[in-house]
């Protein structure tokens, strides 16, 4: 009897227009901005889109009086150096704020030093204070694997992890924790802390950038600094990226940023050397092929050529 009377009532009286909920939340704007400003990272963007969809559907469900378990949004970002983990974490705070999942949308970025104390009894207040500061926003723990030092059994990192776990579980509405680090070391870290791994719903892996993506990133960086590449410099940079990727200690976008900083130094030196000349706007803005080709990366190739 009761089933017959209650179920049609819910289905008949209420309906919700997802499109209007979506338009109302301004989420599309944030997602578009993310898509526009970050090159590549397709799996990351797809996952963020999924999360946004889930939160919107949850909101629609709430408006119809259906129960919604508050989703666990703790995340781990793994990937090689320079793949944009920190950048995305910063954006994540804004996205979750727009979605109405976190109340304030600020990001508190910490490392081991900010959580783990120096002596017995120092860790718990320190960790709790950081957690309190992060409430209403996102707590970003960079290089999270340093929290756990298996070689020292009296290390206080374990205590910090335990407090973290407790808050991650009990106060899911109050803050979102994002752990980030290099892939292999994060895997070891999660293997030795299974409780932590299982409380993180979203393990997002950041892929390495392809060569054309790195070139696009370089142009975007230069654009931000109000520089531009000449046609020759562009092909030189493409060549540079190909060579640099093969070398050890390649850190994706970070290596590109460093290369561009050095190219700016060389451009400045070049312009300074010919200081008799009047410089126009274009000369000050343009990075020429020679600025890039002087790089050490081209050195071993040159004698053979």
């Amino acid at each position: 009897m009761t089933i017959e009377t209650t179920t049609p009532a819910i289905a008949a009286t209420d309906s919700v227009d997802l499109a209007s909920v979506f338009a109302h939340s301004q989420v599309s704007e944030v997602l578009e901005k993310l898509d526009r400003e970050l090159v590549g990272l397709a799996p990351v963007k797809a996952r963020i889109g999924d999360i946004a969809a889930l939160l919107l559907v949850d909101r629609a469900r709430t408006s119809l009086g259906l129960s919604t378990g508050s989703p666990s949004l703790h995340m781990s970002f793994t990937g090689n150096p320079g793949t944009g983990k920190t950048t995305v974490a910063l954006r994540m705070a804004e996205i979750l704020h727009r979605l109405g999942y976190v109340r304030k949308g600020h990001l508190v970025a910490v490392t081991r030093d900010d959580l783990v104390g120096q002596y017995i009894g120092h860790t718990a207040p320190k960790t709790k204070e950081v957690l309190k500061k992060a409430m209403g926003g996102v707590l970003f723990i960079d290089e999270a694997y340093y929290l756990y030092r298996p070689e020292n059994e009296r290390d206080y990192g374990q205590e910090a992890i335990e407090i973290l776990l407790q808050v991650m579980e009990n106060q899911r509405d109050d803050l979102v924790v994002i752990l980030a680090g290099y892939k292999d070391r994060m895997e070891t870290f999660f293997r030795s802390n299974p409780g932590l791994s299982s409380r993180i719903a979203h393990h997002i892996e950041f892929p390495d950038y392809a060569e054309d993506e790195l070139l696009a990133i370089a142009e975007r960086m230069l654009d931000g600094m109000q520089y531009r590449l000449s046609a020759g410099a562009r092909s030189a940079l493409a060549e540079y990226i190909g060579l640099r990727r093969a070398q050890p200690h390649f850190a994706n976008a970070r290596s590109i940023r460093n290369a561009l900083d050095r190219a700016r130094l060389r451009q400045a030196t070049r312009l300074f050397a010919e200081r008799g000349r009047q410089l126009d706007r274009g000369a000050l803005m343009t990075i020429e092929a020679v600025d890039i080709r002087q790089s050490r990366v081209f050195a071993p190739a040159n004698p053979q050529a």
Partner: protein, 145 residues
């Protein structure tokens, strides 16, 4: 008047109203944070109105953005001192103010015996009046059990 009919302590804001709910406390904290005031949780078991020195629970809560962290602290304090008076103060450090701008009770003992009027005869027949908390006659820590 320090007390009203139920012998309920009336100090600070909202004290003539029914006890604040957690949602109402959160809203008040949000107001304090929005004004940039530093919020503290303090407790005592000496309800005398001249007792201005309440113990601070934990650290001062600087640099918080969201009330949830402070509510956690209030609940921790309630758990530790379920039968003490607990108040939340919001300190304004702006020059010219430099004083608590808000102060309200968030926890009170289950039984509040109230205050006794004490009369003292001095200088012949002159009488001095003062009040004394019945609870405060027991030693500290044993007053509300």
């Amino acid at each position: 008047m320090m007390t009203n009919h139920g012998n309920r302590l009336t100090q600070g804001q909202f004290s003539f109203l029914p006890d604040l709910t957690d949602a109402q406390i959160t809203a008040q904290i949000k107001f304090a944070l929005a004004n940039g005031w530093a919020v503290n949780v303090e407790y005592t078991d000496d309800p005398h109105p001249r007792n201005t020195y309440w113990e601070m629970f934990g650290m001062p809560l600087f640099d918080l953005k969201d009330p949830a962290g402070i509510l956690t602290e209030i609940n921790a304090c309630r758990k530790t001192f379920p039968n003490h008076y607990i108040r939340v103060t919001a300190f304004d450090s702006a020059r010219g103010w430099e004083t608590p701008r808000m102060s309200y009770l968030v926890n009170r003992p289950k039984v509040e015996p109230g205050f006794r009027l004490v009369r003292q005869e001095v200088d012949g027949r002159a009488v001095r009046y003062t009040i004394e908390s019945y609870a405060a006659q027991a030693p500290e820590g044993m007053r509300y059990t």
